[in-house]
């Protein structure tokens, strides 16, 4: 009798056979039917175990799609940036970087560099009287009904001031913000050389919405907005759709220096364009070689930095979910233990009729596999609903959660494995009983 045996299971029992074994047998589905009916005998208990495992599976699938959405967003955000950003060595982003202004000439002298423009990046001191630190504290303290998605959003919402050189940036081709200006009148215009020394700013429609006029209307081109206690005139409105970019307030670099107390000798970063965007990696290498204490970041490098940050976040989230998963598995163990303990006499009868230990083990494992599989499917459906709802709240961030078939499959498979793991001890216990003792236990 050709058997397919995997570890402790007798798969032939479940109708999984090598082809040679197929011919003389019919009705190989009866074991599956049997296992299925055993689950349905106690529908409430089965349902409770299902819920216990499906919730963490929802968590797993949900988290994977969230982190994938973040990666996608970062990817699309960075794909708009075609130049190289030069930062102080080791700085995580321009906001945490400072360099001396005289590097400009040195960078411009590096072979292959076509254009360089200095930039100042700083967290906005306050917008319409609300400071960054104040925002964070307020977000934590107020119990926003839309929490926690709103809170997460608000943390990422802190406006950032970007000071640009209106003259120099005219040579730059690949800038993100000028291209994101709203079409027509509403978009206004971008910084021009004539804006040097003025209090003109270009802001995102998001900032315009978040800081409305007293009548509740979003700010428009021509309106003023209070930044750091001073009035600034809005000359342009942009919208990139990315939550990482739509927090930026662009103003002339000298105006930014005054507002943020940055001396003329320092800048945050340089934005560099080469002759050929395809050779950005080589350009980066040349810049880093020519200058001490700087990091050149091509979009790819930014992406991989974010990638490793996200991986760490994933790991942390996964650890959290694992705990829930553990609780779910304990629930399965409990359910299967109850179910097998009250069926000892049955197992005794099966053994009396020649069932091997392996057969009993396989039957019980099939039951818990069913449980795991079902919990996986339920978790997947819950995750679908969850992403639908979550996307309603995330529209303004540019984040969009989708469950890829791969993630769905992984979640369901994980659930299947967890179910089988949870069923293993009860199955092993049931299979170990001496038939006579099992039957007598059941009779008394």
């Amino acid at each position: 009798m050709p058997n397919v045996r995997v570890w402790f299971l007798d798969l032939a029992t479940l109708g999984i056979r090598s082809p040679a074994g197929l011919s003389p047998y019919s009705d190989t589905g009866s074991m599956w039917k049997f296992a299925w009916r055993n689950l349905l005998t106690r529908p409430l208990r089965t349902a409770l175990a299902l819920i216990g495992l499906s919730i963490p599976i929802l968590g797993v699938i949900g988290l994977f799609s969230l982190s994938e959405a973040m990666r996608n967003l970062i990817g699309t955000t960075l794909s708009r940036v075609q130049g190289v950003v030069v930062l102080r060595e080791g700085a995580f982003s321009p906001v945490f970087s400072d360099l001396t202004s005289d590097l400009l000439e040195k960078i411009a002298a590096v072979p292959g560099v076509r254009a360089v423009t200095p930039e100042i990046w700083k967290i906005a001191p306050s917008v319409e009287g609300r400071s960054a630190a104040g925002n964070i504290v307020r977000n934590v303290l107020t119990r926003d009904p839309k929490a926690p998605s709103k809170q997460l959003q608000n943390m990422l919402d802190q406006p950032i001031i970007v000071g640009q050189d209106p003259t120099r940036r005219a040579q730059i081709k690949s800038e993100v913000f000028p291209k994101a200006l709203l079409k027509g009148e509403a978009g206004g215009r971008y910084l021009e050389p004539s804006d040097v020394g003025s209090n003109h700013v270009v802001i995102s429609t998001k900032i315009a919405r978040d800081n409305p006029m007293p009548d509740g209307q979003p700010r428009k081109v021509g309106d003023f907005i209070d930044i750091g206690g001073k009035p600034f005139e809005i000359i342009g409105l942009y919208e990139t759709g990315s939550m990482f970019l739509d927090v930026v307030v662009i103003m002339p670099i000298d105006t930014a220096r005054k507002l943020l107390n940055v001396s003329p000798d320092t800048v945050s970063s340089f934005y560099v364009e080469g002759d050929n965007p395809a050779l950005n990696e080589e350009l980066t290498a040349r810049i880093e070689q020519a200058l001490d204490g700087v990091d050149g970041r091509s979009p790819n490098e930014f992406a991989s930095n974010f990638g490793s940050l996200m991986s760490q976040l994933d790991l942390f989230l996964l650890a959290t979910v694992s705990l829930a998963l553990l609780v779910g598995v304990v629930g399965i163990i409990n359910t299967m233990l109850m179910s097998t303990t009250e069926r000892f006499a049955e197992f005794g009868v099966l053994r009396t009729n020649g069932w091997s230990r392996r057969h009993v083990l396989t039957l019980v494992t099939a039951e818990s596999a069913y449980l795991g599989l079902l919990a996986g499917v339920v978790g997947f459906v819950l995750a679908l609903v969850f992403t639908l709802v979550a996307n309603q709240f995330l529209t303004s961030t540019g984040l969009s959660l989708t469950i890829t078939p791969r993630n769905a499959l992984l979640g369901i498979l994980l659930s299947l494995v967890m179910g089988m793991l949870g069923g293993f001890y009860p199955a092993w216990k049931a299979s170990r009983m001496v038939p006579m003792a099992a039957i007598r236990l059941g009779a008394s």
């Binding site: 047998y25 009705d27 009396t352």
Partner: protein, 231 residues
């Protein structure tokens, strides 16, 4: 032929041991109907379970057609239970989540059921008068009907040995009579060895072998005539 030789069976019950069988020896002829009788707690069921290889004796040997059950491998024990012994319990022990036919087919379920086996199961259920109950669940059946399904299950493998532990213990006397009629008829027809545990001697006839046990020891064999006064 069955030969039980100096069998002891000790159960550990909490801190002390219970000796269910104390060096019991007896023989049962092939193709015979044998009764194991004795008071409650004397070790009758234990002996029967040992004959079905549902447990091992603490010492001694049990030979069935020359094979020592105490020396069978795990696989051979499973084969013995599946193909060579039919077991009928006092409380029927049908499986609630299987239909009558499926209950009869239990020995074959793990390997997949052949069409021939299924036909055989249907035939046996028809023989015991349950043709119209094939796809019913046990709880839809009366006690007598359930025991008839159990008999069909014990017979589906064409066993050389049939064991029944107080098969009428949970049935009223009229239904019990029917079950005995069926068992006797089948035994006579097939010439299988049938061993029945009972404490009700009214079914015993002069042709039957009787093994009487008390306190885990044999107190008499073939005592139908001589000990009739004790009935």
């Amino acid at each position: 032929m069955i030969a039980v030789e100096n069998v002891r069976k000790t159960f550990r019950s909490g801190s002390h041991d219970v000796e269910a069988l104390r060096g019991l020896s007896c023989k049962i002829d092939r193709g015979r109907l044998a009764f194991i009788v004795g008071p409650s707690g004397s070790g009758k069921s234990t002996l029967l379970y040992l004959l079905g290889a549902l447990d091992l004796p603490s010492s001694g040997s049990i030979l069935v057609d020359g094979h020592d059950l105490t020396k069978l491998s795990e696989t051979d024990t499973n084969t013995y239970r599946r193909d060579h012994v039919g077991f009928i319990f006092q409380s029927f022990n049908l499986i609630g989540n299987l239909t009558c036919v499926e209950n009869v087919l239990i020995p074959f379920l793990p390997r997949g059921v052949t069409a021939a086996q299924k036909a055989r199961a249907v035939e046996l259920l028809t023989d015991v008068g349950l043709k119209h109950r094939l796809d019913h669940r046990p709880r839809q059946l009366s006690g007598g009907e359930q025991q008839r399904v159990a008999i069909a299950r014990a017979l589906v493998k064409d066993p050389k040995l049939l064991l029944a532990d107080e098969p009428t213990g949970e049935l009223d006397s009229k239904t019990g009579d029917e079950i005995y009629k069926i068992l006797r008829h089948l035994q006579a027809q097939r010439q299988t060895t049938l061993v029945i545990v009972t404490h009700d001697r009214r079914f015993i006839t002069s042709n039957d072998q009787v093994i009487e046990i008390q306190d885990g020891q044999l107190v008499g064999e073939d005592l139908y005539q001589t000990r009739a006064d004790l009935r």
